[in-house]
């Protein structure tokens, strides 16, 4: 593990010059763990049918409202910079994804996950699990209250650091719209160095993973607001009801 950040950044630059793309490259050697885990055959083009046309349904029997506030779950105040992240989930045609499940997870303010596999020697926060869920509302809006996650080191190469991020898991109306991704924070200097983020080789596409600071959501003497909208791929269903926005 002697590869330097400089060498990784050179590898990234070469690939990006050759193949700018909006979806992450699955074969992306700068992220070393992809080496044996990316398919090498072209995907088979298939028209979705049956269960592929219908995403699973979730409701208020699945999610409690309190699960959207990651600062409330352990009885005491977690340490860190209190934030709210909110935005809309839209489908590929701009329609809101209504009453659908959003799951999030993140490191604590010190950059450590409350996961037994994370051995980074930063403190755990007894008042923070970093796990939340909510349902989008009738206009596709979601909102989470949390703590700004810290960046953390990982073993991809020497002195490798992940930019601060929140993992998001999303469903649409079709099973084929399933998405798991990561939201980044504006102005993070680590983003340009990160092989996971840079696997999205088109800068405009990567910019869609970066939230914007939203002062209108910030609360006086309480928290800072961020806005991040999520656009899923297109639905294959034929909708009879018109979009109402």
């Amino acid at each position: 593990m002697t590869t330097s950040q400089h060498e990784i950044s050179d590898e990234i630059a070469k690939i990006q010059a050759d193949s700018p793309g909006g979806a992450p490259l699955l074969d992306f050697a700068p992220y070393r763990s992809t080496t044996l885990r990316h398919p090498t055959k072209e995907p088979l083009h298939v028209d979705p049918e049956g269960a592929e046309l219908l995403a699973p349904v979730f409701g208020h029997s699945d999610v409690d409202a309190v699960e959207a506030d990651l600062t409330l779950q352990r009885g005491g105040e977690p340490i860190g910079e209190r934030i709210r992240v909110h935005g809309r989930v839209l489908d590929g045609d701009g329609r809101p994804v209504r009453r659908q499940l959003v799951e999030v997870w993140q490191a604590n303010a010190a950059g450590r996950y409350s996961h037994q596999g994370d051995q980074h020697p930063a403190p755990l926060d007894p008042n923070f699990t970093g796990v939340g869920r909510c349902l989008t509302d009738d206009d596709g809006w979601y909102s989470f209250t949390s703590i700004k996650p810290g960046p953390y080191p990982w073993r991809n190469h020497h002195n490798a650091w992940r930019p601060a991020h929140i993992h998001f898991s999303l469903f649409g109306t079709d099973f084929t719209q399933r998405l798991i991704t990561q939201m980044y924070f504006p102005g993070d200097q680590l983003l340009a160095l990160d092989p996971i983020a840079q696997s999205i080789t088109d800068p405009a596409a990567l910019a869609r993973l970066v939230a914007s600071y939203d002062h209108a959501q910030s609360e006086h003497e309480w928290l800072l607001g961020y806005r991040w909208d999520i656009v899923l791929t297109g639905s294959h269903a034929t909708y009879l009801e018109p979009s109402d926005d």
Binding site: L36, H38, G117
Partner: protein, 164 residues
């Protein structure tokens, strides 16, 4: 069409967030009419992938794709047609479910080291018009077995759908 938000790897530290009690039991294990769908996830060296997550979506036994909530709390919800299984240290995933009337399980695969989700199908044995290579095997004890290979000579057929 608006430009869609790109995916990113699920990473290594998702179990405490995405696993939940009963996540892989679409019907209770061992209940009447249930079947186990299971297998292993392998990388390109043939080693098991212990940090993958598989999700399935399916119809019920009569061919109807359920549109009811309750998957996260299972108890009393009825058959929701969706489940999630995180692989264990041996790369093993499993579901307790029913054999779908529409003859395949729709599948998504996530893993550390996999930068975006993969789609595939697992067909029931003997399904007409099955995609070659995606048919599960009936084991002697009645379980359905299907291994997923992210890479290598036995690489699983993964899909690209229109509009994705």
């Amino acid at each position: 069409m608006t430009e869609s938000t790109p995916g990113q790897t699920v990473g290594p530290f998702f179990h405490h967030a995405l696993a939940f009690p009963g996540d892989s039991e679409l019907v209770p294990f061992g209940s009447a009419g249930s079947v186990v769908l299971h297998g292993y996830v392998y990388d390109g060296a043939g080693d098991p992938v212990p940090d993958a997550m598989i999700e399935i979506r399916q119809s019920d036994a009569s061919g109807v794709v359920p549109r009811i909530g309750g998957s996260l709390r299972r108890r009393g919800a009825g058959f929701t047609g969706w489940g999630r299984s995180c692989t264990d240290g041996a790369g093993h995933y499993w579901f307790s479910t029913v054999e779908p009337g529409l003859p395949f399980f729709a599948v998504t695969v996530f893993a550390r080291g996999l930068l975006d989700r993969l789609f595939t199908r697992i067909y029931l044995p003997g399904a007409a018009d099955a995609v070659e290579g995606l048919v599960s095997e009936r084991e002697a004890d009645g379980r359905l077995r299907f291994d997923l290979h992210l890479q290598g000579p036995s690489e699983t057929v993964f899909f690209k759908f229109p509009r994705t």
